[in-house]
């Protein structure tokens, strides 16, 4: 049975994920061991979440992929329902309602929506993809599938997650086979609409959101306010030099100069303690996971599998790029967690369910 499991499982992909997950927990231990405020240490909580996530991953792996395809729209609607519920019943933290509590655990529906949207898109393209590629008329429903959750998340407000969904959707469109004329039209329309969107969008941004963008562009103007985060993170990453300061010896993180060091700036903790070498190891692990994900997409037996596999890999790609970009000061601080490394139950469970889907698609690549 184990032999069968290994034979049918993408071991390269799974190994990379598990190593990343373990590194993440070790890193979280270092980042949170000075935190004496909560009764249960964060890394212990993260282990609970990882166990839950791995179980759900295995479950996902062995459910027939057609089940997800059949129920894709329903799952999509359920997550949308949760997004609406969170707006009314969610816990307000830091001026935004992104969470709600289910008994002892809190839960962030905007994480699940990424998966359910990708599955809904997969289901749509499965049914509506002509042999010579899609045209404009095939884009209305996918656009609506992306727009509804995006608007709901904007309402929370969580611009980071909303932007991420738009980015994932756009990348997935680029990846799907389009007729050349359609592709040109879509790209032109996207580029042209960006300018008015930016100008009008600016007016709708809350002051703290504008501040974040301005601070990102000129961090030194406000070193103790919003710019503090970026400066401290750059100091942490840079001061790691080649081999780092050693595990649990990062001064920036251990003395808590790093803000949000369990979530947004978890990478800075790792880069400070493990240096350039450690950072490269993490980048290579993510590269393996993402490129292997694309390989699974290519080998999928149907369009649904291909779109879902590519979509999940794209989510991992953008989240890791944006999060590490935030920590190194080349991207604004938008609150996107680093997959498998940032503390956060919903994010980790979602990612591991995504991994389960990819492994599932890989398992069934040869079944016709």
């Amino acid at each position: 049975m184990i032999r069968d499991f290994i034979k049918k499982t993408d071991t390269v992909f799974l190994t990379a994920v598990v190593i990343t997950l373990l590194v993440g927990i070790l890193n979280l231990y270092s980042a949170s061991r000075m935190e004496d405020l909560s009764a249960v240490p964060l890394y212990v909580k993260q282990i609970y979440w990882a166990v839950l996530g791995l179980s759900l991953m295995l479950l996902t792996m062995f459910i027939d992929i057609r089940f997800f395809e059949r129920w894709a729209y329903i799952i999509y609607l359920i997550t949308l329902f949760f997004l609406v519920v969170v707006l009314f019943l969610g816990e307000r933290t830091g001026g935004a309602t992104r969470w709600f509590a289910l008994g002892p655990i809190s839960f962030q529906p905007s994480e699940f929506v990424k998966l359910s949207m990708i599955m809904a898109l997969g289901r749509y393209f499965q049914k509506n993809m002509p042999v010579d590629g899609i045209t404009i008329k095939h884009l209305f429903i996918p656009a609506a599938l992306a727009a509804v959750p995006t608007l709901l998340i904007v309402k929370e407000p969580d611009l980071g997650s909303a932007g991420l969904i738009v980015l994932v959707f756009a990348t997935l469109l680029i990846a799907t086979k389009m007729r050349p004329k359609t592709a040109v039209t879509v790209i032109l329309a996207g580029v042209i609409s960006m300018f008015p969107a930016f100008i009008f969008g600016w007016r709708f941004l809350k002051p703290y959101q504008r501040q974040r963008i301005l601070t990102f562009l000129w961090p030194d103007t406000d070193p103790l306010g919003s710019g503090y985060h970026i400066i401290q993170s750059k100091i942490a990453v840079g001061s790691g030099k080649i081999i780092g300061k050693g595990y649990m010896h990062g001064t920036q993180s251990q003395l808590r100069f790093l803000p949000e060091q369990h979530t947004d700036f978890i990478f800075s903790v790792l880069a400070e303690e493990w240096g350039f070498i450690g950072s490269m190891v993490i980048l290579i692990l993510f590269c393996v996971i993402i490129l292997r994900g694309f390989y699974i997409a290519r080998s999928a037996r149907d369009v649904f599998g291909a779109v879902v596999a590519a979509g999940i890999s794209i989510v991992i790609l953008w989240q890791s790029f944006i999060n590490i970009g935030m920590a190194t000061g080349i991207f604004p601080v938008v609150g996107i967690p680093l997959p498998f490394l940032s503390y956060g139950g919903t994010s980790l469970v979602t990612m591991l369910i995504g991994v389960g889907l990819l492994l599932n698609i890989y398992r069934r690549r040869n079944i016709f």
Partner: protein, 610 residues
């Protein structure tokens, strides 16, 4: 497979893996390049910054130098102040924390709140804030036994000023405060930094550089909330130099009591007329310097600033008053030196002097009859000096007044000294833009015109008469001592000028001053001391024009009373000026105090000989 039309497109070609794979690799190369830049190229810079981040330099203030009296007795030193600091980021509810502190220390919550608010404005983020200053010993005990239960509380010990003899000379010593932003830009505070505590008045201000010492510091490893985790290094502070003052503790306290017991507002200054060392300098009413050391509240400060009797002002050097009849010595000098009068010249006083269609009255209604200079000084005849002043003219008065030091700083090394006014036609033209009227010379010649002097200026002028006509810089500091007690610098007399007067004429003035105290009808008889030959002159400086007796006027309109004297006649060794604000006639209010101070001086001197 029914229901799934998988043949419509080859799934291998449904997503362009190569394209997004290339995008992925490109994005990760960007991250690689960024990390290489931060960690390899800029690594050393950021490593240094991370070290700076976690190392905090805590200033250890140097103890300020002590102040000693002329006989080496300590009058101001330092004592520890126990302050309670609160790290606000460690408490969930600041109000609860303040209630706890109030319970521990007995300080009212309202006061704690005000302190916290003030500290918050002054301090950078993440620093523990001082909520209680200078806790008394009794209140310390319950706190020390329980402070370990409150991790957000910190006890700090800082040196603050200790006034060994209470409010002995608060105006002279001065008080301290944090350096203000505009002060930082001044040349005299070059090298000072924000947050430095400096002298704000008196000796503390003027001699700040000598007595402040050099602050030390401690290097601590801290976390982002500023909590100190590890001790890294220490630089010991260097204590400031000590100052040996010229004042005599006993005489100073005696003089201060004289004013306090009588509830007078005014000035007493005693000086050695030979060396110009100040023996006592009192400005009344005063304030308690210990309140400033502890940290004064805005309300207390406002009360001091708005007090009608100006307790914060050192009136001896900052108060400017008309000299009244004491000015007659200047008029006399001008008359004698210019040859308008001589020792035997008699002038007639019918009780008034007509000039320009106006009658200038003498204080004695019936007049003094025909008087010579000696009697004119003894009885302070106004009409005699009207005529002399009119005879020599305002230019003459201004020249001789200037040679006595009027209209010029005495040069004492204390801040906020005022310059007074030694009027002349040029001064009036510059100041008012109008010409000088001859009638104004008449008022000037008895010190009721534009002339303004500080009590110290007047004392300097009379000390010059006492010592034969030389003006020196009045001194308040005799020596600077290192903290180990070695002399760093001792100060010698600095000559500032000679009075324009011949020795013969000087003797005429001195005999007049002797007569004013010791002869019948002398205005200063209340200062008489048997065997000490006190010489002095009364003065009554009008606050409003008119000849109404001060008894019938409200306090703030009553005349200022002057008496300035030296003793003994031969080889004078002490000169004293007393000004009683709104004290009425000078002879009555001021001269007894001068007498008491001079008497005390000789008592102390003889007591020490034994």
């Amino acid at each position: 497979m029914s229901g799934y039309d998988i043949k419509r497109i080859d799934p291998y070609r449904s997503v362009r893996v190569a394209l997004i794979g290339a995008i992925a690799v490109l994005l990760f190369l960007v991250l690689c390049a960024r990390l290489a830049y931060l960690q390899l190229y800029m690594g050393e810079t950021f490593r240094i910054m991370s070290e700076d981040n976690r190392i905090r330099f805590v200033k250890v203030p140097a103890p300020r130098g002590m102040l000693l009296d002329r006989r080496g007795r300590v009058v101001v030193d330092n004592r520890p102040s126990f302050d309670v600091k609160l790290a606000t980021e460690y408490v969930e509810d600041v109000d609860d924390a303040l209630a706890d502190i109030s319970g521990l220390t007995g300080v009212k919550v309202g006061i704690l709140k005000t302190n916290l608010k003030r500290e918050k404005e002054k301090n950078p983020k993440y620093r523990p804030l001082t909520v209680v200053r200078d806790l008394s010993k009794d209140d310390m005990a319950p706190l020390i036994s329980r402070i370990h239960r409150y991790p957000a509380l910190e006890l700090e010990v800082l040196p603050i000023r200790n006034y060994v003899h209470g409010p002995l000379a608060p105006h002279l010593f001065g008080y301290m405060g944090e350096i203000a932003d505009d002060e930082l830009e001044l040349e005299k505070y070059r090298g000072y930094r924000t947050g430095d505590v400096i002298g704000k008045s008196g000796i503390e201000e003027e001699w700040d550089r000598e007595i402040r010492g050099v602050d030390g510091g401690i290097q601590m490893e801290v976390d982002s909330t500023g909590r100190e985790l590890k001790f890294l290094g220490k630089v010991d502070p260097v204590p400031g130099n000590n100052l040996v003052l010229t004042i005599d503790l006993d005489l100073q306290e005696f003089a201060r009591r004289q004013m306090e017991e009588r509830d007078h507002a005014g000035v007493v200054i005693a000086m050695d007329p030979q060396s110009f060392e100040i023996l006592a300098i009192v400005s009344a009413p005063d304030f308690n310097p210990a309140d400033f050391a502890r940290g004064i509240s805005a309300k207390e400060w406002q009360a001091l600033v708005n007090h009608p009797r100006r307790p914060l002002e050192n009136k001896g050097i900052s108060g400017q008053y008309p000299p009244g009849s004491t000015y007659k010595l200047i008029t006399a000098t001008a008359g004698l030196e210019e040859g308008f009068i001589d020792v035997d010249k008699k002038l007639y006083c019918p009780g008034y002097y007509r000039f320009g269609g106006r009658a200038f009255a003498c204080w004695k209604a019936g007049g003094h009859g025909r008087v010579k200079i000696h009697r004119a000084i003894v009885e302070s005849c106004d009409v005699f000096f009207y005529q002399v002043g009119n005879g020599v003219g305002i230019e003459g008065l201004a020249r001789y007044g200037g040679s006595y030091g009027f209209g010029r700083l005495t040069g004492i090394k204390l801040s906020n000294e005022k310059v007074g006014i030694n009027p002349s036609p040029k001064w009036k033209k510059d100041y008012f833009g109008r010409p000088w009227y001859p009638g104004e010379t008449i008022s000037c010649s008895i010190g009721q015109g534009y002339t303004l002097v500080t009590p110290l200026q007047l004392l300097v002028a009379f000390s010059a008469i006492a010592n034969g006509g030389t003006i020196y810089e009045p001194r308040i500091v005799r020596e600077i001592l290192s903290p180990e007690g070695e002399t760093v610098k001792s100060f010698k007399s600095v000559k500032r000028g000679e009075v324009l007067i011949s020795p013969e004429n000087l003797e005429i003035l001195k005999s007049g001053l002797y007569g004013a105290v010791n002869e019948p009808h002398g205005t200063g008889w209340r200062a008489r001391i048997k065997g000490k030959d006190v010489c002095g002159k009364t003065g009554t400086a009008q606050v409003i024009a008119g000849r109404m007796s001060s008894k019938y006027l409200p306090y703030e309109l009553r005349d200022h009373a002057w008496f300035v004297a030296f003793a003994p006649l031969e080889k004078p060794e002490i000169a004293v000026v007393v000004l009683v604000e709104h004290g009425g006639f000078g002879g009555a209010a001021a001269s007894p105090i001068v007498g008491e101070v001079i008497k005390k001086y000789f008592e102390l001197k003889e007591g020490r000989k034994k």
